[in-house]
């Protein structure tokens, strides 16, 4: 349909999460039809992001400064670290605005089948932060999967020597959710972790 340059652009878009070939084609078409209003600002934003984005050396977040703005924020509790798998998980928690401590991004979860080992995880900076002695609690906010549970167990063993409290997110009934539509595993977890009211 379009020339090779356009097809290449569509191909690049289609590799992004959440976009398939059709939606990539629609997005590219919109950009090309409005070059001044859409394409040029996108190019400028991409260039700026590529030039300035850094991985935070403390927590693994993405930001234009290192350490990131969350690690620099003096209002955040330094004694509380929430450990997440990905930057996307960190941003999701930040959107909720419920965690007032610091973060740590592991960059994956342990999986022998996928080749993710303790060495490939972003662990060393976390161990350094714990050696400082300021941290009193680690919250494990990892996915509820076999690999997420393995990683949580592994970390709880590995971090035990630091004498910090290790907690993990509870599992159960989602806000606004009705019991009848929940799967049995979630219902069982919710019942297991019930609390007095």
């Amino acid at each position: 349909m379009g020339g090779p340059e356009i097809e290449q652009l569509i191909g690049q878009f289609a590799r992004l999460p959440g976009l398939g070939p059709r939606s990539a084609r629609r997005a590219v078409l919109r950009l090309l039809q409005q070059p001044e209003a859409r394409l040029a600002p996108l190019i400028r934003a991409l260039e700026a992001a590529a030039k300035t984005t850094r991985v935070c050396g403390l927590c693994g977040n993405l930001d234009s400064v290192d350490p990131c703005s969350l690690c620099r924020d003096p209002r955040r509790e330094t004694g509380l670290i929430c450990v997440v798998e990905t930057v996307a998980d960190l941003w999701a928690l930040e959107r909720a605005g419920v965690h007032r401590g610091r973060y740590h991004v592991l960059g994956g979860v342990l999986s022998a089948l996928a080749g993710t080992t303790p060495e490939t995880l972003n662990l060393t900076p976390l161990l350094s932060r714990l050696s400082g002695g300021e941290v009193r609690e680690i919250v494990l906010a990892l996915p509820v999967t076999v690999d997420g549970a393995t990683t949580a167990h592994f970390l709880s063993e590995r971090l035990r020597e630091f004498g910090v409290v290790i907690t993990q997110l509870s599992q159960g009934v989602p806000m606004g959710g009705s019991l009848e539509t929940l799967d049995e595993g979630t219902l069982a977890a919710a019942l297991r972790t019930r609390r007095a009211v």
Partner: protein
């Protein structure tokens, strides 16, 4: 109980378009070899979530003509149940070839469990007759499929357990055996193994109670679960069995590295079907006796499901009369005539079904 009143197949297996009205039960499907008798039963089994009675992949189900597979296929069943009528459809749309969809009354089902709430199936196929002469893994799969019909979370539990086994063996083989990582896998393996053993044990007790109540002349079948973990569960609290398994896994690392398998846990379990009257296992039984034992188990499973769901499942029996003697054919015919659910039977020869005395529906497949 849901009764199938009409079945329609589009581009499924060897059927381009087929439509049957089903007025009477039981239903005998007969025709020569390759006419599509098993495919018809498979179509009914696919109306319930799962891979159906052949365990086929999605890509194998589309009709092939001139070397080309059809781009989509569909199965629709019309059901009458007390207080309501409904249709269930499943298939592949040409625009989404990798995703099987389910419809209830022509609306997409929000969850597959919605269909499982409406319908259940029990099936017997000739392939099952070889189960007791083959490796134990096939028998475990057979048992687990039965357990999963009663325990909704069981299939997911088995899948996680399988993943943990694969992860542990890979870690051991690659020598990436950081102790805390292995301990994390073994902790989860122990908890999931004990949960699986407990569910298998519960199921075997339930099934054996149902088998003991089956009428003669079906053999007095008894499912024997050979699983050290389940035996320990009968004598000790689950937490202590879990702790014991964790220790065994930890102690067995060197051996498991050598063998490339995990040598403790529910993956070592096996089952046998005993004919209690003759005190003989299925592997030692004759072909006909083994078939009769399997028929007993399927009737027992139907009885368990009927009690559990307060509705009798659809019984899909592929070549059930083959290898049975005249007395057992007669008894099976009587049992199916009295069955309060709906049974579908296949056979090449109508004479096999004489015991039904014409009190059945007939579907003749010409191929």
């Amino acid at each position: 109980m849901a009764r199938l009143t009409r079945l329609q197949l589009i581009s499924f297996r060897n059927f381009a378009l087929a439509d049957w009205e089903i007025a009477q039960a039981p239903v005998v499907v007969h025709g020569r070899n390759g006419a599509g008798k098993t495919s018809l039963l498979e179509a009914i089994s696919l109306l319930v979530p799962g891979r159906g009675l052949r365990g086929a992949r999605l890509s194998e189900l589309a009709r092939r003509a001139g070397g080309q597979a059809s781009e989509g296929w569909g199965i629709s069943g019309w059901f009458d149940a007390p207080g309501r009528s409904f249709t269930v459809s499943t298939g592949i749309r040409p625009d989404a070839p990798r995703q099987r969809c389910f419809l209830i009354d022509n609306e997409p089902a929000a969850k597959q469990t919605e269909i499982a709430d409406l319908l259940s199936c029990v099936w017997l196929t000739p392939q099952m007759e070889g189960l007791f002469l083959e490796p134990a893994s096939g028998r475990r799969r057979f048992l687990d499929r039965l357990v999963a019909t009663l325990e909704p979370g069981f299939a997911r539990l088995l899948a996680s357990h399988g993943q943990l086994l694969a992860e542990r063996v890979r870690l051991l083989r690659l020598g990436m055996a950081e102790p805390a990582w292995l301990a994390a896998l073994e902790d989860q393996l122990a908890r999931k193994s004990v949960a699986i053993a407990a569910m298998r044990l519960d199921y075997s007790l339930t099934l054996n109670a149902a088998l003991a109540a089956l009428p003669a002349p079906f053999p007095r079948a008894h499912l024997r679960l050979a699983c050290p973990l389940a035996e320990r569960l009968a004598q000790a609290p689950a937490l202590s069995v879990e702790a014991g398994l964790r220790e065994a896994l930890s102690a067995g690392r060197a051996h498991d590295r050598e063998t490339g398998t995990t040598n403790a846990g529910v993956n070592q379990a096996d089952i046998d079907l005993l004919d209690t009257e003759h005190d003989r296992g299925a592997a030692q039984a004759s072909t006909g006796e083994r078939k009769a034992l399997l028929v007993s188990v399927m009737l027992g499973q139907a009885s368990v499901l009927r009690r559990h769901r307060a509705a009798a499942p659809l019984l899909l029996l592929d070549e059930p009369m083959t290898h049975l003697d005249a007395a057992r054919r007669e008894a099976l015919a009587e049992t199916l005539l009295a069955y309060d659910g709906q049974a579908f039977l296949t056979g090449t020869d109508q004479d096999q079904f004489r015991g039904l005395g014409g009190r059945c529906g007939m579907i003749a497949l010409a191929g």
